[in-house]
């Protein structure tokens, strides 16, 4: 399993691996918003938590279809399915690799983008915390979507349609946590609910994704 994780990380950082794409996309999104709604802090500040989380969702979405599609194309997926690693483990590791290569850079860069959107400094720790707790669910749900659409040509769009509705609970509680802490309130409940969603998704979804892969490999 460690070997698979290492391979996926190396592949992501080699040419054509798409490492950094998500952060670049996130940056562009966050710098476009002030052009759209105006640079005054009165307009930006209330929407900043929502924009940051929506931006994170969309950036995660960018690289989801690569989770299994590339391995399916070159035949590795068939070989992994006959390897001694359980398919549930393959799903979990690939989701982890996706999280490490896509979400972790986002989490690190997010405070910078928060400044672009005039997010109060008091809310920055909560921004990082909510992203760190919420984004694992995005990667695992995304791996499920990628497993369902793996054999399809141009499955990327269908993948977005399948996965984005599943992201709604994470989005709601992630945004709520940042908003409350920006207003100087208590964000603990929202953060706990966010953690609960992530924990449930991490525990259950790999099995669903592995089942979907088995059906798609037939």
């Amino acid at each position: 399993m460690i070997a698979l994780l290492k391979r996926d990380l190396v592949l992501a950082t080699r040419a054509g691996g798409g490492f950094g794409l998500a952060v670049a996309f996130f940056l562009i999104l966050c710098s476009l918003v002030p052009f759209g709604v105006g640079p005054q802090s009165a307009t930006l500040r209330p929407v900043a938590p929502g924009i940051l989380w929506v931006g994170a969702l969309l950036s995660c979405l960018l690289s989801l279809d690569r989770i299994f599609a590339l391995d399916h194309e070159d035949g590795s997926l068939d070989l992994l399915a006959t390897a001694p690693i359980p398919l549930e483990g393959v799903v979990a590791i690939k989701a982890l690799a996706h999280w490490l290569t896509t979400a972790v850079p986002l989490i690190i860069a997010a405070p910078l983008f928060g400044v672009l959107l005039q997010l109060p400094a008091a809310a920055m720790p909560m921004l990082v915390a909510s992203l760190a707790i919420g984004t694992p669910a995005l990667s695992v749900l995304g791996a499920f979507g990628a497993a369902v659409t793996v054999g399809l040509r141009r499955g990327g769009l269908l993948l977005s349609l399948l996965v984005l509705p599943l992201y709604i609970p994470t989005l709601i509680f992630g945004t709520e946590a940042i908003r409350r802490s920006a207003e100087g309130g208590q964000a603990g409940v929202a953060l706990m609910l966010l953690a609960g969603i992530s924990a449930a998704v991490l525990a259950l979804v790999p099995f669903a994704a592995a089942a979907a892969l088995r059906i798609n490999l037939r």
């Binding site: 391979r7 190396v10 592949l11 070159d74 070989l79 399915a81 001694p84 059906i215 490999l217």
Partner: protein, 211 residues
């Protein structure tokens, strides 16, 4: 008597909900090789995928020890941005075996070990795909057209690798149209087992929603 490595009983396999091969039974002991023959579309690949456990059989039974299959398909599962040695090393780690150097030597890939796999020719990629079998340490090789795009010298290398594998107690089932000059191999013509056409069947556990 030791039980056979692979025993297939009255097997039927299906592709796209249509039976391809049915009523197939054979056994394979350690040290034996079985070559599947038959025209295109008869179901050789489907049969091999079923034995490898990638799809469930429609009927019948496949008996073999757990975790004994190494499968090699048309696609070699090579990552083009990794080097030859990295590709092979990954599979060696996954299967918990070693022997990357031996596998490179056996398939004459040593000179290419540090090249990115994307720069290899089709035949060299194929050799890398076959070298993967050597690092799996699995006794039963399931080979689907292993000799595609290999030149004569490489076919001979591959035949030698299979012979060594059989001699060390392994076994192989392969679909191939090329004569590998493996005199000890048995041949099985699937034409006799062609399923009666027009009889649609539902594989075990098949769900309409995923048709």
């Amino acid at each position: 008597m030791t039980p056979a490595l692979l025993a297939v009983h009255d097997l039927a396999v299906a592709r796209g909900g249509l039976r391809a091969v049915e009523g197939l039974s054979f056994t394979l002991d350690r040290g034996q090789a079985l070559i599947l023959r038959g025209p295109n579309g008869i179901g050789k690949t489907t049969l091999l995928r079923t034995i490898a456990g990638l799809q469930p059989p429609v009927a019948g039974r496949i008996d073999m020890p757990e975790d004994c299959v190494a499968y090699a398909a048309h696609a070699d599962g090579i990552k083009t941005t990794l080097t030859v040695a990295e590709n092979l090393g990954f599979w060696a780690q996954v299967f918990g075996g070693g022997g990357v150097d031996d596998a490179l030597a056996a398939m004459d890939l040593r000179a290419l070990a540090d090249r990115a796999a994307g720069t290899l020719s089709a035949g060299q990629k194929r050799r890398l795909g076959l070298a993967r079998l050597l690092v799996t340490g699995r006794p039963l090789w399931i080979l689907d057209e292993p000799t595609v795009s290999l030149d004569q010298a490489s076919v001979a290398l591959f035949a030698a690798a299979i012979r060594a594998h059989l001699a060390s107690g392994g076994a192989a089932v392969m679909a191939t149209h090329i004569d590998l000059s493996l005199s000890e191999a048995r041949h099985l013509d699937l034409t006799r087992f062609r399923a009666v056409p027009g009889k649609p069947s539902i594989p075990a556990g098949f769900n309409e929603a995923f048709a």
